[in-house]
């Protein structure tokens, strides 16, 4: 897998040096230790939660696989004399596991798969990767190593000869594998009953040997073919099951294996959950909940989602990015110490130091808040620490309540918007969430149009939606929704009462239609026009009235509860908003960075002398920068002599403004050496390479001759 991504280094560094690292940069009054501890406990909770989600999502797939495996060799030891079994060709049971292109996530799936297998089916599971198996020999070595080691691990009480055999490097061939398998299975059979209990209760007499090919696409055809041919010859002695991990589509099997080989397999297809659904669940469970005090700002969330959708489809990376946000937040925001569960807030607020109080006063959202208060309270807030703490606690509790309400109302709104045609506010709840975080959602055009559409919903849809909303609001922990629930229920009963009335109306409408049927085109047009006129002026039906009321009520809920978080006081404490920092960490641009460094050395070196405007080339810049800038002006092939001349002109320009012609003819040796060094540095960086077309020229490799 090559979705390169390594944010874990930061985490490792943090956990190794622990809070010490936090402290070294900021003074001690800012509760660094406590922040670190808070971060750790929060992250552990989130990590546990994500693993749980992953497990739940994979459950279906794993169950299917387990039942497939237990079915596959059920008749292994029955020496059947039945005609069909005797005549039928014995195929290798194979599971084709389609996992999606997010290769980085596969590891976790495979790990949980092999755990499940070892618990339920067989202790003999081998995981093979293409990079370890360039040839059939390496594959067999790897396979036998893994199988025999796993045996040693399972029953560590084993006598030593087994260990010795594997150490001595026995011949890596199928017969030795088979004899090993026979000896192992016989051993478990002949063991004393007391010892046998624990092993054979989980596995049966002859557990299958499962070989998992992690990345089917990368294996070479020959290795796979040979392995399948060999193992199919011994399938009656060694109950082998193959699992192919496939990232693209199952067609790859037919592309890699010719018919003569694929006819040795009995392939069944298993498909894992799509990664987009996985992400939706993760967002639903991690972000749209009031369980975790930490929140992502709109821009940050957008960055994370964009990386997921545009680049890698990797849920693992999304979670890692989320972790990075948490680390960054707790590291850079001294007040993040207050980003904790509601129960701890009081204690933490009251133990704040004076510096921290000043930090609170410096928060933009708090200053806005202060400005709105009357002057007496303003002075109190700005001078009296204990008063400030009281106020802070109250505000934070408000913020918590806001979150709880926000999530519930957001879900209600999503119930409505997700069923509208064309999805003006997005199909997924994450899109709605982003829209709500960004600005006042009710001021956007999309919201307007979705309300329009909602006013045209039919009755059955509306009823089910209302029902869903009631359920969501009932289950939320917010206390303010009793009234809302009552109101919605009232709507529901009103709709039910409408039933009879609407039926009567149906009759009248149909009679009207009857009339129109027997007219010619001209009359029809006329009547239709009249009908339209009348409808415009006609009073709305009861149902329509009620529908308007419902939509208006939802609108009111939205306006009340879905206020963007930026408007809340003290939102900086729980929201992480530094999107640019995150983008710099997660979506690095090496080419751009290199270009900036060489084109504008001032950016990184911060040396005033290097500052220059646009086009000109300063002779104080490092040699490589000068050479680089000069080479940008050339075409695909660069003449070295011309280049050197230009270089020496630039370098000597300022040193001796009135240089005589004779010296410029002969290039200084030192300048020559500097030039050669700079050029070879450029070659090392991959900007140029020696060309075979002309001897004294080099070829540009980047932005080829633009």
């Amino acid at each position: 897998g090559c979705f390169v991504f390594k944010p874990s280094t930061k985490k490792r560094r943090l956990s190794e040096k622990t809070a010490h690292d936090f402290r070294s940069t900021s003074c001690d009054s800012e509760d660094t230790e406590l922040r670190f501890v808070t971060y750790q406990s929060l992250w552990n909770q989130i990590k546990f939660e994500t693993e749980q989600i992953q497990e739940d999502l994979n459950k279906q797939l794993l169950d299917n696989l387990v039942s497939f495996l237990s079915r596959s060799h059920s008749d292994f030891h029955e020496k059947t004399t039945k005609w069909t079994c005797r005549m039928k060709f014995r195929e290798i049971p194979t599971a084709a596991l389609v996992l999606g292109v997010n290769v980085t996530d596969h590891d976790l799936t495979f790990r949980s798969l092999s755990d499940v297998l070892q618990d339920n089916i067989t202790p003999y599971v081998a995981l093979l990767e293409a990079k370890d198996c360039p040839g059939i020999k390496n594959l067999m070595q790897k396979l036998m190593g893994q199988l025999m080691n796993c045996d040693i691990e399972v029953d560590s009480m084993e006598d030593e000869d087994c260990v010795q055999v594997s150490r001595n490097g026995i011949r890596c061939s199928m017969p030795s594998l088979i004899s090993w398998y026979e000896s192992v299975t016989k051993k478990t059979d002949s063991e004393t009953p007391s010892k046998k209990r624990n092993s054979s209760s989980r596995h049966w007499q002859s557990p299958p040997v499962v070989v998992i090919f992690k990345d089917m696409e990368s294996f070479t055809t020959k290795v796979l073919q040979d392995f399948i041919v060999i193992s199919s010859q011994h399938i009656s002695e060694l109950p082998l099951v193959l699992i192919f991990g496939i990232a693209t589509s199952p067609m790859i099997i037919h592309r890699l294996l010719p018919h003569s080989v694929s006819s040795l397999l009995c392939i069944e297809l298993f498909q894992s959950l799509s990664c987009k659904e996985h992400l939706s669940t993760i967002i639903d469970k991690l972000l749209l909940t009031s369980r975790f005090p930490f929140k992502l700002g709109e821009k940050v969330l957008q960055v994370l989602i964009n990386i997921f959708l545009y680049h890698d489809f990797s849920v693992q990376n999304f979670v890692k990015g989320f972790q990075l946000c948490i680390v960054e937040h707790f590291y850079s925001q001294p007040l993040s110490v207050l980003c904790c569960h509601l129960v701890d807030i009081k204690k933490r607020v009251y133990s704040l130091s004076h510096d921290q109080c000043e930090n609170i006063r410096r928060l933009p959202s708090f200053r806005r808040y202060v400005e709105k208060q009357e002057s007496g309270k303003q002075i109190e807030l700005l001078t009296n620490d204990s008063f400030l703490k009281e106020e802070t606690q109250k505000l934070l509790e408000d913020l918590h309540a806001y979150h709880e309400n926000y999530v519930s109302v957001l879900r209600c709104l999503h119930v409505f918007t997700s069923s509208l045609p064309k999805y003006p506010l997005g199909k997924q709840i994450r899109e709605l969430h982003c829209a709500c975080l960004e600005n006042r959602v009710w001021e956007t055009e999309e919201y307007e149009s979705s309300l329009q559409l909602a006013r045209m919903l039919n009755k059955t849809d509306l009823l089910t939606m209302l029902q869903q909303c009631v359920e969501i609001l009932m289950s939320s922990s917010g206390k303010e929704f009793d009234k809302a629930v009552e109101k919605l229920k009232e709507f529901l009963t009103q709709f039910q009462n409408l039933e009879e009335a609407s039926q009567e109306q149906d009759v009248s409408v149909s009679s009207q239609k009857e009339l129109q049927k027997k007219t010619d085109l001209y009359h029809l047009q006329k009547t239709l026009l009249e009908l339209k006129e009348s409808r415009r002026s006609k009073k709305l039906t009861k149902f329509e009235m009620l529908r308007f009321e419902v939509v208006d009520y939802i609108d009111r809920l939205v306006r009340k509860y879905l206020v963007p978080a930026d408007n809340r006081t003290l939102h900086e404490i729980v929201y992480f908003n530094a999107a640019t920092v995150l983008r710099g960490h997660l979506n690095a641009a090496p080419r751009t960075a290199l270009h900036t460094a060489l084109n504008n050395p001032h950016w990184y070196l911060k040396n005033q002398a290097l500052k220059c405007d646009g086009g000109c080339i300063s002779n104080k810049a490092p040699d490589i920068c000068i050479v680089y800038k000069l080479h940008l002006e050339c075409g695909r092939l660069i003449n070295l002599v011309d280049w050197l001349e230009a270089f020496s002109t630039v370098v000597t320009a300022a040193e001796e403004p009135n240089a005589d012609a004779a010296s410029s003819d002969q290039v200084d040796d030192i300048i020559h050496a500097r030039f050669i060094r700079a050029v070879s540095e450029l070659e090392l960086l991959g900007f140029i390479k020696p060309s075979k077309q002309k001897t004294d020229h080099v070829a540009r490799l980047t932005w080829g001759g633009c």
């Binding site: 039928k88 990664c275 890698d312």
Partner: protein, 433 residues
């Protein structure tokens, strides 16, 4: 058909052999006359070739076991290095001597060692007065081992000075084996394909005990009528026969037809077999799934085959990268300016298409393109600005690992890597939608 006759072997054994190898009598009698009597020296090496499942391995094995000739049987695919191969031969040799002591692991690295150990093994046994046969199945693998292995096996009799014959079995002709340094020419022998009559005879031989031979033969006849066009592999045919036999018997079991009602039975089974040809035979659905379907009486249409799942979900930029790669692979470089630039100037109408370009680029296959061209096309086909971030570059690499792109030539990143797009137009169409 000539009955097998040979003075050296008991008639009963020969008769049994004949019943076991139907339709291969002439080859067997030929082999027998080459082998001669037990103690006689035979031809040093015999090369047998023939198409897949023409009975090479089976005939050799039955011949040697029924007549109880001392032999060693090794599959060269399984013993993929020369060392493994030689050691395996020696191990089998130890175990085929009558009074076997506990076999100790043999270590044999080179052919020199092998000849020495081989002589020892033969000397210790009562094998000296009999010809020993070494059968190397899938002998084409020998070509990939050290250069001396194949010539040495061909003249093993001479090298060891013992009564030994090496039999090579392969699916390809001897001309493809001959090393350029020259070697001893083995006696070559061809096993022709089974004809449809042969197949019918062999397949009908093993009929299920519950039904009569005629009934089964009629079934085989129908089966061959459907499958003979696409498949002549005996193993595969037998497998298919077993899979579908239950369905064939269904009317009989239900009492709707008797065993002689061939027409009715044919009507019942024919569409079923055709469906099997499109699914099980191509391994679109597995045989166990097929059996379960049959058992439940469900329609095969419910189960989607492997190739039904062609859709691949890709990240946004990966899609564009792949499309750009496709364009770069199948469009000539000259047209880039015309297709991807806004102001490309006038298009010369005359002479634009040169003659050789009229052949479709799709027939010529993908052409390699440099990384920069890929990125340039990417920038022009994506609407908004794309920053050349590490994520974009890593996606190219991951497309290579997914085998959607392939890297051409050396893999030195500094030297301007070149790629090829390996996916089809249909795939690109599905992605671009």
């Amino acid at each position: 058909m000539p009955n097998l006759e040979h003075p050296a072997y008991p008639a009963a054994d020969l008769l049994q052999l004949e019943s076991l190898v139907p339709c291969r009598e002439s080859q067997v009698s030929m082999l027998l006359s080459i082998f001669g009597e037990r103690q006689q020296f035979s031809f040093p090496s015999i090369f047998i070739y023939g198409h897949t499942s023409s009975g090479k391995t089976y005939v050799m094995q039955t011949l040697l076991t029924t007549l109880q000739l001392p032999h060693v049987f090794v599959n060269c695919v399984e013993y993929f290095t020369s060392r493994l191969l030689l050691e395996e031969i020696l191990t089998q040799l130890q175990s085929c001597s009558p009074g076997t002591e506990q076999t100790s692991p043999v270590h044999c690295d080179t052919l020199n060692d092998f000849v020495r150990l081989f002589k020892q093994a033969l000397a210790s046994q009562e094998l000296q007065d009999q010809t020993l046969y070494i059968v190397l199945d899938r002998a084409e693998q020998l070509r990939e081992m050290e250069a001396n292995i194949l010539p040495a096996f061909l003249r093993l009799q001479e090298l060891t000075d013992r009564n030994v014959t090496v039999v090579l079995l392969s699916e390809i002709v001897w001309e493809l084996f001959r090393p350029n340094t020259g070697c001893f020419e083995p006696f070559t022998m061809y096993f022709p394909d089974y004809s449809i009559g042969h197949l019918q005879k062999i397949l009908s031989q093993n009929h299920p005990p519950e039904y009569s031979a005629d009934f089964y033969a009629a079934y085989i006849n129908i089966l061959l009528g459907v499958f003979y066009m696409v498949c002549r592999d005996l193993k595969e045919l037998r497998h298919l026969a077993v899979l579908n036999f239950a369905k064939y018997c269904e009317p009989v079991v239900r009492g709707e037809a008797n065993e002689r009602d061939t027409r009715k039975l044919w009507k019942n089974i024919e569409p079923h077999l055709k469906k099997a040809m499109q699914t099980v035979y191509l391994r679109e659905i597995s045989s166990s799934q097929w059996e379960r379907l049959q058992h439940d009486g469900g329609e095969p249409g419910q189960l989607k085959g492997l190739s039904a799942h062609t859709h691949v979900e890709l990240p946004y930029y990966s899609k564009f990268l792949l499309i750009a790669a496709y364009l770069a692979s199948y469009n000539p470089v000259r047209t880039d300016k015309r297709f991807f630039l806004k102001h490309h100037g006038k298009i010369r109408k005359t002479n634009f298409m040169k003659k050789h370009e009229k052949t479709s680029n799709h027939l010529l296959g993908p052409k390699p393109f440099p990384l920069d061209r890929l990125l340039a096309i990417l920038y022009s086909i994506v609407d908004n600005r794309v920053a050349p971030t590490a994520n974009i570059f890593s996606q190219i690499t991951s497309l290579v690992t997914l085998q959607l792109l392939s890297m051409v030539g050396q893999s030195d990143q500094l030297d301007g890597p070149r790629y090829k797009c390996t996916v089809s137009l249909d795939f690109i169409r599905a992605i671009a939608r």
